[in-house]
């Protein structure tokens, strides 16, 4: 197999697997006219739960061996929450937190 063919095969494999995980719940429940009660319940209350897990997923790389390993992330996440509770404006919270994080990793806690 030539290299180009190989890379295309890798892409298609990854695409199929990725799509499978995305379509999985739809395959399970597409036939039923009315969703089972517990799926309706999960569908309603899972999102806040999943978002919390996703935040943990994003910050999983922090390490407590040095201050630089966790302080920028910790400070910036707290800053985003506080900014958002204060102004309740997505752009301000996200831009503010991101700029703060960049300053922290590039300047304050620079290695």
């Amino acid at each position: 197999m030539s290299n180009n063919m190989y890379v295309i095969a890798v892409m298609l494999t990854a695409c199929a697997c990725n799509f499978f995980t995305r379509v999985f719940p739809f395959l399970l429940f597409s036939k039923s006219d009315k969703l089972p009660g517990f799926i309706q319940y999960l569908g309603k209350y899972l999102p806040p739960c999943v978002m919390a897990v996703l935040v943990v997923y994003c910050i999983k790389g922090i390490n407590f061996a040095s201050l630089a390993g966790f302080m920028p992330m910790l400070i910036s996440v707290v800053a985003v929450v506080l900014l958002h509770l204060w102004k309740r404006n997505n752009i301000i919270s996200i831009a503010g937190g991101t700029v703060l994080y960049m300053i922290l990793v590039q300047v304050v806690f620079a290695r």
Binding site: F20, M51, A52, S76, N90
Partner: protein
């Protein structure tokens, strides 16, 4: 084209745009360094369409990893997405032919915007479609531009990918403010952290999501009762 829904989708996906352009650019640049030009960068962004997945494919391509291993890795990296559709089944069903595209493009960031409420007067279905399409445009643009010009970015972009984490944190905060019952959010946080400690960073996401789902089922009565108060 529903201008009102489009404009709202544009505003709501702004953080995704910033994150995707720069993270995509980082990927495009790595791909260029490995010797793959624009068609590969754009093609991979469009066909694979998964951030962490694409980054994981790079070393595998260089090492000529066999396809079975690629499949197993892809499934495990993407597995968290199995939990996203549960909340969107009814909504996507109503979208007819577009449903397939909505499922295909259901990444972390799109999911996180889709589960937030929209104000009255905004067409939900159109908004959902615009969000999915815009996010994909940002990602393909980021990967392509980074592949072409990544080496020319004049400032240090280290840390700019925090925009996506910030987006998730904002959505968590919004959901916290907007719901009477905080059990689901607390469940996710606790299961996430406990699984992270027990299973380590590389393999905690599935146990975290599965255990959250289980706990949510166990506290079903509590959650529903307090919501109806």
């Amino acid at each position: 084209m529903d201008k009102k829904a489009f404009r709202y989708a544009l505003v709501q996906t702004m953080p995704v745009m910033i994150g995707y352009l720069f993270v995509g650019a980082a990927f495009g640049l790595l791909l260029a360094d490995a010797g793959y030009g624009l068609p590969w960068a754009a093609g991979m962004a469009l066909i694979v369409y998964g951030g962490s997945l694409q980054f994981a494919l790079l070393p595998m391509i260089t090492a000529h990893t066999n396809l079975l291993t690629v499949a197993v890795m892809s499934l495990s990296i993407s597995s968290r997405q199995m939990f996203y559709g549960l909340s969107l089944i009814e909504r996507f069903k109503k979208m007819g032919k577009k449903a397939l595209y909505m499922i295909y493009s259901l990444c972390d960031e799109t999911y996180s915007v889709l589960i937030t409420d929209v104000p009255e007067g905004i067409d939900r279905q159109k908004f959902d479609f615009y969000v999915a399409a815009l996010d994909m445009c940002y990602w393909v643009s980021g990967c392509s531009l980074g592949n072409l010009f990544g080496a020319l970015i004049p400032f240090d972009t280290t840390g700019i990918d925090f925009a996506m984490i910030a987006l998730f944190v904002v959505i968590c905060t919004e959901q916290w403010i907007g719901s009477k019952n905080h059990l689901p959010a607390i469940t996710g946080m606790v299961c996430g952290v406990v699984s992270l400690i027990l299973f380590g960073a590389d393999s905690f996401i599935l146990p975290a999501l599965a255990s959250s789902m289980l706990v949510l089922m166990l506290v079903k009565n509590k959650v529903e009762v307090s919501e109806n108060e």
